[in-house]
Symmetry: C2
């Protein structure tokens, strides 16, 4: 016999006059006119259970129950009395007159009310099990399930095969820091947890699986600034014999499908595509938030000969940049707001925030209000007005520094203004979903400190057709077949066409200062595989945590992960990590460094 006939939240007038059995938790209990009403909750929602004094045994039991007691009740479904219908509930037209009430499990008093929205993160993560009972967390994790199921259905229908790749794999200290796992059987050796299945999925392409996907955990032992987790989940995909355009189209369709089926949202029928240099030029970012209706104006060449040293210095510096950011209607912005922005851009290394208020274009220099106007010659001022397209009442902010500082500072300022009350009330922010493909990334980035080139994407990314030569002659101008999908300023995923020829792969390793011996040691199995007729292939990976966070409108990826870690990489619920037995360490052939005593948790 079943413990229940219906979910609480799905008990409706369809069951009128039927005897039903329900299981769930006491969400609220109240006495009213000598009758006890229990709102019984399960994952589908609430139902009202009526315990009348005529049913003496039920009534006596109902008097003992408290919030979060787990009950099984049997009763008859009846219409609620007129005037007490609750249209917020699916079960709101009915109530259940209780005939049997069984306490399946009592509950001590919870440390907080489940409907308290002002809980600290520490409280929530320490009592995660109760936190997860809250409707928002229930919805978030169900949305996550729905998204993954949609992804699986879509990819399965297109012939993608879910192949599991190893969790215990080889350490290749490139990029992020590895999580290591000491080997017991092979003394002194270590596995690494995968930062991504990148190389394995490429090997699967060489092995003729043609279309692969996996929704899988990846690991990076980084400092958990911002919204990162030690373990995170990727929707990882790879295909053979498809062009970049075909790959993008296929996954663009997937994202559209997810939004349609999970949120009933229609994304653009074709996502706009922008190359990296345009994105950096117009927005100072390779993941621009396209909801913000503000753009950079390039002023570097205009500022080369002005008296204002901040501008001319940056304009003449190697790798310097000067931009304007025209804010329509910004002339009305109070001084305090401008000061706040000046403070804000300093976070990104900007030494100040010059601006001009355009009071009256027709009045020339006199119509422009700014401390810096006196140090800009007429031609420069005219150019500023013309190139930014500024109108009376506008304000123009300026960034002038090394390009990176300008991009970071003014790029962040652009978003900040867009999302501000000012931006929203002045039409500078469009509250819609704005996907964007960013393409044609550079192959390499030069790092001044280590005086070497690094891969922008990863070392397995193919150069654009015709750019193979540049790998050796001019790495800085070598463009990659790499692409990112950006949504509302977040990178949702990214990928590339991969190198499928061993000689090209070796050239890239050389450009990255990885000599033949090191390449063989670290990536020999890849170079070897490429020799056996590796097919042209490419793919991408989406960050599932981020996608679901965005879709759920959650504040943090921790809100879409059942059991997340804190920023100190700890699980407050289980107290992981913890000390371990000396015996365990001995078996693994390791010991703690002297300064760290074994703390037995």
């Amino acid at each position: 016999m079943s413990m229940r006939t219906h979910y609480c939240g799905q008990t409706t007038e369809a069951a009128l006059d039927q005897t039903v059995s329900l299981c769930g938790w006491v969400h609220r209990r109240r006495d009213h006119g000598g009758v006890i009403f229990i709102d019984l909750r399960d994952r589908e929602g609430l139902v009202q259970v009526v315990c009348a004094p005529e049913q003496a045994e039920v009534f006596a039991a109902a008097e003992t129950v408290r919030n979060e007691f787990c009950l099984r009740i049997t009763g008859v479904v009846r219409n609620r009395p007129e005037g007490t219908v609750n249209s917020n509930l699916k079960s709101g037209k009915i109530e259940v007159l209780c005939q049997v009430l069984e306490v399946l499990n009592a509950s001590v008093t919870p440390p907080f009310q489940l409907d308290d929205d002002n809980l600290s993160e520490t409280t929530r993560l320490t009592h995660r099990v109760l936190d997860l009972r809250r409707p928002q967390m229930q919805n978030n994790l169900r949305l996550r399930h729905k998204v993954t199921m949609e992804v699986r259905r879509y990819l399965d229908a297109l012939g993608f095969i879910d192949v599991e790749t190893p969790m215990l794999t080889k350490s290749t200290p490139e990029g992020a820091r590895d999580y290591l796992v000491p080997s017991r059987v092979n003394a002194g050796q270590f596995f690494a947890l995968p930062q991504s299945p990148q190389l394995f999925k490429q090997l699967l392409m060489v092995a003729n699986f043609d279309r692969y996907y996996q929704i899988t955990k990846c690991f990076r032992d980084e400092d958990l600034r911002a919204d990162r987790q030690p373990e995170f989940t990727q929707i990882d995909c790879e295909t053979s014999f498809m062009s970049e355009q075909e790959i993008r189209d296929l996954f663009e369709d997937m994202i559209r499908l997810i939004f349609k089926n999970c949120l009933s949202v229609d994304l653009d029928s074709q996502f706009p595509v922008m190359d990296y240099s345009t994105a950096m030029g117009m927005y100072g970012s390779d993941k621009p938030d396209m909801r913000v209706k503000l753009e950079f104006t390039e002023l570097t060449s205009v500022m080369k000969d002005v008296d204002f040293k901040v501008f001319s210095g940056a304009a003449n510096m190697v790798g310097g940049r000067v931009v304007g950011l025209r804010v329509p209607g910004g002339g009305a912005m109070p001084r305090s707001e401008i000061d706040a922005y000046t403070q804000f851009v300093s976070i990104y290394g900007a030494k100040g925030l010059a601006y001009i208020k355009v009071n009256d274009k027709a009045a020339g220099r006199e119509g422009l209000q700014s401390p810096i106007v006196k140090n800009l010659h007429d031609a420069a001022l005219a150019q500023i007005i013309e190139l930014t397209g500024a109108q009376n009442g506008d304000l123009i902010f300026f960034g002038a520094d090394k390009a990176k500082v300008v991009n970071d500072a003014i790029g962040a300022l652009r978003v900040k203004i867009g999302h501000s009350d000012f931006g929203k009330s002045n039409g500078l922010f469009e509250n819609v979903w704005k996907p964007l493909w960013v393409v044609d990334f550079p192959m390499f980035e030069y790092d001044e400190d280590s005086a070497r080139w690094f891969a922008c994407h990863h070392p397995f990314t193919a150069p654009k057709d015709g750019h193979e030569e540049l790998l050796e002659t001019d790495p800085g101008n070598c463009i990659a077949k790499a692409y990112d999908l950006v949504l509302n300023g977040w990178e949702m995923g990214g990928g590339s066409i991969r190198i499928h020829k061993a000689d090209v792969q070796s050239k890239v390793f050389r450009a990255l200062n990885i000599d033949a011996e090191e390449a063989q040691l670290k990536f020999g199995f890849l170079l070897d595989a490429l020799q056996y007729g590796a097919p042209p292939h490419g793919g991408l990976a989406f960050g599932l945590d981020r996608i679901v966070t965005m879709m759920a409108g959650a504040e943090s990826i921790r809100d879409v992960i059942a059991f997340p870690k804190t920023q100190r990489a700890q699980c407050l619920l289980t107290q992981a990590p913890s000390g371990v037995d000396e015996k365990q360490l001995r078996e693994l052939h390791i010991r703690l460094r002297a300064t760290e005593p074994v703390v037995k948790a």
Copy 2:
């Protein structure tokens, strides 16, 4: 523009006279009558490509290609000439007259022929990428994908929610050995990789997710005897408010569905159910291979007073057991085969293998052929014949020792004989799928060495209703609400109803010699969660690797895992595990033990 219009193996007469583009690998190339034929292979199969001398450029290119070159060809589909149709291929009625041949990537000569079936495991795992190109491995991994997809669809339709549980979790040194992960941020502390998501899935039930599943990696650092892997995959499921019977029915349906949809096999419409004690009694195993038509006959009480000390000694020993195994027609078994079985049972600790050949029942003692007959009195002999139901021409093997030795040895012998040529030709083996539920396991097993009780399933398993008292008074007779699904002698999965009351859980911990302090330290978060109205819940986990191995008819789980480890827990392809930089160890606050130098891989 797409690189291909069809998969090679799916190009058929439906595309007759059309120009097609195909991508794939040269499976075989042969010159025949001045024409070059290329069997081009992709994951869907082969197609015949014809390179005629009239197409000079194509022909010249075709002359240069070798096995495993990766090609793109464009050509026209035409009927094969009469008499050359290959009915083994989906594309066997047609061929493609090549007009453009593009070598996408050359291949060096592979280290072995892809159709060589006699490769060593070492060769296959070292060159895993090429090994994976072989049709059997392609089929195995596609079957695996199909199985998981069927599971997901089935569970999703029933409202199960896929929730990811942590990979970096808390070490609880119970059961198998943990894989540990040193924490960088929390010096001297360690994460453990999960042996299973057991506690997290129970917490999800307490958190009102109601129905959970996950197909997830689990980790056990055990010696890899038999067919084990350091990381393996579980189909992990849990539900609230369902009875054991309901849970078994639900997952029995799932298994039936998988076999139907993936193998077109109809399993029994209702799986038989057998309790643990019956299984041990009749087959000496809790995972009996029901294809084998042989059963134990219990003879312990019969042998208490016989002269033959081996039998009477075992029969009178505490925990001793004597059984017969009647082999119909076994009288015809040659002495050499019996000797081989005697050798075989010694592996399981049996000190010998007594037997009786039943030549002529009617002749009494004289009709029984065996060295031991003279030491058995008439009543015992009559009982043996009667209880085993032996007929003339049969052979009866005997096991007499501690019950464990008898069960292991005669249980293995039973399977061995069933699977032997003798067994198969004498109707002792039925070559069908034979699922079986084994239920009512004991809660505890006593370990003589450590003189304490261990949990048969795990410490979170609920005792049968009415057995709660026995936890304290008679643990050995306490039966658990645990169940295993067995198929053809393999455990496919198992589970239980869990303890949902904190006081019962504490009693079980006490029975296991885990005191309150230790319980709080290791499982405090579970005990805590149980206090907040934990619902009745239960579930089970299936071993995906094993299920797919069985379904694929593979010899080893390594044949259904893309990148498995060897028995020494090494990946021959990537050379993991490997030495790591001293810097990495320092960051993790560990050092190698003195005897093990840092070996930089």
